[in-house]
Symmetry: D2
Amino acid sequence: MRTPHRVAFFDTDAMRIVHHANYVRWFELARIEWMDTHHVPYQRYVEQGLHFATTRVEVDYTKPARFDDRVSIVAWLAALGGASLAMDYRVERAGEQLVSGRTEHACIDDEGRVRRIPRERREMLKSVLAAAGDENSLRTG
Amino acid sequence: MRTPHRVAFFDTDAMRIVHHANYVRWFELARIEWMDTHHVPYQRYVEQGLHFATTRVEVDYTKPARFDDRVSIVAWLAALGGASLAMDYRVERAGEQLVSGRTEHACIDDEGRVRRIPRERREMLKSVLAAAGDENSLRTG
Amino acid sequence: MRTPHRVAFFDTDAMRIVHHANYVRWFELARIEWMDTHHVPYQRYVEQGLHFATTRVEVDYTKPARFDDRVSIVAWLAALGGASLAMDYRVERAGEQLVSGRTEHACIDDEGRVRRIPRERREMLKSVLAAAGDENSLRTG
Amino acid sequence: MRTPHRVAFFDTDAMRIVHHANYVRWFELARIEWMDTHHVPYQRYVEQGLHFATTRVEVDYTKPARFDDRVSIVAWLAALGGASLAMDYRVERAGEQLVSGRTEHACIDDEGRVRRIPRERREMLKSVLAAAGDENSLRTG
């Protein structure tokens, strides 16, 4: 899953590069699109009073993106627990990797209590993870 | 009411100045502090399920702020209606005006319906406005 | 010119609506796309050491956008001076107007000095403005 | 070094908690203040054409901060290389840890080339690290 993004002026800082905190937002854009394509729209969770709260973020910055760059954020499911999941990301410009990262999420309800991912949805994610595993082997093999 | 603010690196953009959208956020910082000092903490409204939704914003930019500048945001009540109010702002650096602006707000409940400002609070705001009027006359007189 | 935008989770605030400062950023997205289509990419100005610094912003908020809404930002050239221009905006969701606004800009160089818009570019903008004027008459007629 | 921060409304998202990307910005606030107190103001680096580009960010989220919370961001130097350093952070509310994290930085010049931290400054940082090491032992001992 590849989310195209055009770097906005407001994404930049006085080093004339994208401010490092903004990649965490871009990961979110990609995660939302990933769910549309490979799972169910995140909005369906929200409507049921469920959220994937972010419990951990890791970002490695190799090269900076700049104003007006056309980048893509590649996202894939990296791990799945009973009430949690992890996503991996790669931000690329013209095939070159700029940034990589991972986010981890806990499924919680409106009161902030941890909740198991609903069974049917968890099965869907499991299949996606298995398939992604195959792809990842190919990718890095 | 004068809210001191130190310009963060993340406030800047690739023109090496503060991005213009951020002053709208700074107005909010000053508005919240103004309420603490001259009215009641905004949190009290929120706890009752009331909000001051922003209905209009105006900003005039004269000079740019830059990374690490120490600025102050001066805020004062400019107008009061039954379910609305307006605040005026001036962003200064070492006494020099950089930006001025106004925000207008409607009092709404959690469902987004317009609600009159609770009577007692409205009376408080009225007195502040009257007093501020006197100050403003002095300021511009 | 119509820029589609999907409301991100990070665009929202604790009122469960889009934070009002973010529309100023959306105007920028639309302005940049408008320049691509109706003028020259903004990047060309930047490469020459020219910028359109924002000198004024006005926003009127009628209805809130929410997470995952598909909105469009409609932008058009509203006025043109020797070293300045103004853009008008309308944010819509399913044809309904949520927000409208205007931004004004001064053409400046890397040192922040006001500079006339290069003649050829200014001629281009003049033609666009004339054409837009015709469209606007139709739109509001 | 402890940087007090009052959670702004614009820091929150539709989960009614602080959006996870904002803690990365708060780390920056704390890092800048840490440099003032324990090193030299970051602005001195910028004036010499040097920057500490962020090369890695890690954040662990335990409990959410909310609108109007008074939090502190505790920052300390965690590691030092010839052209790099790492900072650790803890965000607390009333003594309770909400979030912890680390950022890593490379010293670069205006053209983005890696540069050794100027010798004298590096010596300063070394002493601070040694002292912090002692404190950290006490803290966790």
